[in-house]
């Protein structure tokens, strides 16, 4: 991101004018850097525990990261547009519960289930979109409010019951593999990642999300409907969270009133590790995939190294800290602009 503003913000702009080596350029792309670290972690773990590189474990890692991938995908859209969505976990849980009850009690099949999950996600995302894009509440407050509302709704909908019998025709997608180590559910997820990457990178709408996130005032003056773009990012976030709920059902074959309660922050963590910045205008769809796979790989490696499960959240925390410290060193070091301050054009 060598926009004029970033250049100006750098402590020594001259350093930027020197052409970096090809390797340095490659490593500057976050997806590639994280992939490299993943390979290192996998190699190190396999060296000490050969089972780590077995097809069963690789399949487990991929399947385990699918739900967070969906949440982080939606979160990426919002974060690139310089927003934040704290409610993705609750939307995911609500979708898992509602779809799960339809499957369990009414024998719903996979395709209608996916459509229902997506529709529900869009409807719940519309709530956020209205509050942020139309009423113009600050996103962190609006989605905090909807987080409370949606997680309360989870409880109301379950009414003390839980989803625990999902037919094997559906859960097989999570446990069966296409090739050794590649679960079906990953293959079903990849198209969503690819389409998101295409939308973000090659469509006018995708580019306008980056423009809004980088500088909403400039985007506004360039004729972009800032409010419309912001509105749509929250709808997309809801859509992916809804799909994540269906993925959760497929993978865990159950759901309860507390499903997704802790996944909001993990999704944000995955997106940040994948290179999407809270300051907006930076990031991508592959980052969400790579970030969540990286989280799962590291946590699995930790449990292979006999680190107690208690320390798994700390692992996530340390990774996020490392990622943001790395960010602040690699990007615009000490520009002291407050990232959460709403840009003037956004209102």
């Amino acid at each position: 991101m060598t926009t004029a503003r970033n250049l100006r913000a750098r402590s020594s702009a001259w350093r930027e004018l020197r052409m970096p080596s090809r390797w340095a350029l490659l490593l500057r792309r976050r997806e590639i850097l994280v992939t490299a670290v993943i390979i290192i972690v996998v190699a190190a773990s396999t060296a000490s525990h050969p089972y780590f590189w077995s097809s069963a474990n690789v399949a487990f890692i991929f399947a385990d990261s699918v739900v967070i991938t969906f949440l982080a995908l939606g979160e990426s859209f919002v974060m690139i547009g310089r927003g934040i969505d704290l409610s993705v976990g609750a939307v995911m849980g609500l979708s898992a519960i509602v779809v799960g009850f339809r499957i369990q009690n009414h024998g719903m099949t996979l395709l209608p289930a996916v459509l229902l999950g997506a529709g529900l996600g869009v409807a719940l995302g519309l709530g956020n979109a209205l509050l942020v894009g139309v009423v113009r509440l600050p996103p962190i407050i609006a989605t905090l409010g909807t987080l409370s509302v949606y997680s309360g709704l989870e409880f109301v909908v379950t009414n003390g019951n839980q989803v625990d019998t999902i037919p094997s025709s559906i859960t097989n997608l999570g446990s069966h593999t296409v090739l050794p180590g590649i679960p079906v559910i990953l293959v079903l997820t990849l198209p969503f990642v690819l389409v998101s990457a295409w939308v973000l990178r090659y469509t006018a709408f995708g580019r306008s999300i980056y423009a809004v996130g980088d500088d909403a005032e400039a985007a506004y003056r360039a004729g972009i409907g800032v409010q419309r773009v912001v509105f749509l990012t929250y709808v997309i976030s809801g859509l992916f969270a809804g799909l994540g709920g269906v993925a959760f059902l497929i993978y865990t074959s159950g759901a309860s009133s507390t499903t997704g309660i802790n996944d909001n922050l993990t999704a944000i963590a995955a997106a940040i590790i994948g290179g999407t910045a809270l300051t907006g205008g930076v990031g991508g769809a592959f980052g969400a995939l790579v970030g969540s796979v990286f989280l799962t790989v590291t946590l699995t490696a930790m449990s292979f190294a006999h680190v107690s499960d208690v320390w798994q959240p700390a692992g996530v925390g340390v990774l996020v800290l490392l990622a943001v410290v790395y960010d602040s060193r690699s990007r615009a070091g000490g520009t002291r602009r407050s990232p959460r301050r709403r840009p003037r054009g956004a209102r």
Partner: protein, 338 residues
């Protein structure tokens, strides 16, 4: 959005009044509908000890939010403080030692947050998101498989005891509330916190020690999380590692409902205290009426959204009206003189 920012005393002076009216309405409603709620007048006071920890947490958070930052780790920090206090007591330490140790630990982590935010300059949302995860792990690990419970009465007195029907927890909340009101409104540190939140650049150019103030405010927030943790452990007479983490969202809700601007620089601590009572009585009243805690979460969320939608609409109209009036005045005076 106009460039005009109104002086503080013109800004929605009604918000505190709205909160007071809402509290009164709520108390009257619950007293009429639920017999146990008032309980000879003292029941209402007893209820306050259940939300005093949330209030203390919210007051610490309010100072951080005033600077335009946020501390997501304060709930986990309260958990850690509770667990540390419980562990010290279980190992045979006295109540004073337990309290000091608990507050010291969470103050240290507050300092850690503050140093990272102030010195490296990373967004506090990210830093405290990370430390929240780390603190959760530490708290769970310290608590172990069977978290400590059953503390001596000298310790539980803080959370359950009362002086002349006034719960000690309520006194702690009110004293801390007064201290924070004074600190924010009448000291140099408070002034610099407000200015940092209002305009970091202006604060920088007026020579305010931004790094020092930010470090101080995160440390203070950590210390107050520690107090909240001690109150929690004393009230529940046990130290579960999730005990304070669940209070994060209610605390943020109280701060925002108290009219604190999430982007910093605007807000009154006294209104945050009022919002704590409003939300606390609401949830306790609903609990007594037999609603589950999760549907209370839902109502809290709806209250937050509703209140803010009204407040934002009102403030925006108000500002637009005032700026239009000012513009007309300027045009008129220019015409008169030109």
């Amino acid at each position: 959005m106009t460039a005009l920012d109104l002086p503080r005393r013109w800004r929605l002076p009604a918000w505190g009044t709205c909160l007071v009216i809402a509290i009164a309405a709520e108390l009257i409603y619950f007293t009429l509908t639920t017999r146990q709620f008032a309980g000879h007048g003292t029941g209402m006071l007893d209820l306050t000890e259940q939300f005093a920890p949330t209030g203390v947490l919210a007051l610490g958070l309010a100072m951080v939010i005033l600077t335009g930052n946020i501390d997501l780790s304060c709930g986990a920090s309260a958990s850690l403080a509770a667990v540390v206090a419980g562990t010290v007591l279980a190992k045979g330490g006295g109540p004073v030692l337990a309290i000091v140790a608990a507050i010291a630990v969470s103050t240290l982590f507050g300092l850690f947050n503050g140093l990272i935010v102030a010195l490296i300059g990373i967004d506090s949302l990210l830093v405290t998101l990370a430390t929240q995860f780390i603190l959760t792990s530490i708290a769970t690990s310290v608590a172990g498989a069977s978290p400590p419970f059953g503390f001596p009465s000298g310790f539980t007195l803080i959370g359950q005891g009362s002086v002349d029907d006034v719960p000690i927890a309520l006194l702690v909340l009110l004293v801390i509330g007064l201290l924070v009101i004074v600190a924010v409104g009448y000291t140099g540190l408070g002034r610099s916190l407000t200015l940092i939140g209002y305009s970091p650049r202006a604060a920088l150019y007026s020579g305010i020690a931004i790094r020092g103030s930010l470090t101080a405010v995160f440390t203070l927030c950590g210390a107050m999380s520690g107090v909240a943790g001690v109150l929690l452990a004393a009230y529940y007479n046990s130290a579960q590692p999730q005990i304070g983490t669940d209070l994060l969202l209610p605390a943020i809700t109280a701060v925002i409902l108290g009219g604190m601007d999430i982007f910093g620089g605007r807000g009154r601590i006294a209104e945050v205290v009022l919002a704590v009572f409003l939300l606390g009585f609401l949830s306790q009243g609903m609990l007594i009426e037999g609603d589950s805690s999760l549907s209370i979460t839902m109502i809290t969320g709806l209250v937050l959204i509703g209140a803010l939608v009204i407040k934002f609409a009102f403030e925006r109209n108000f500002r637009q009206r005032m700026s239009a009036r000012l513009h007309r005045f300027r045009t008129l005076s220019r015409d008169a003189h030109g």
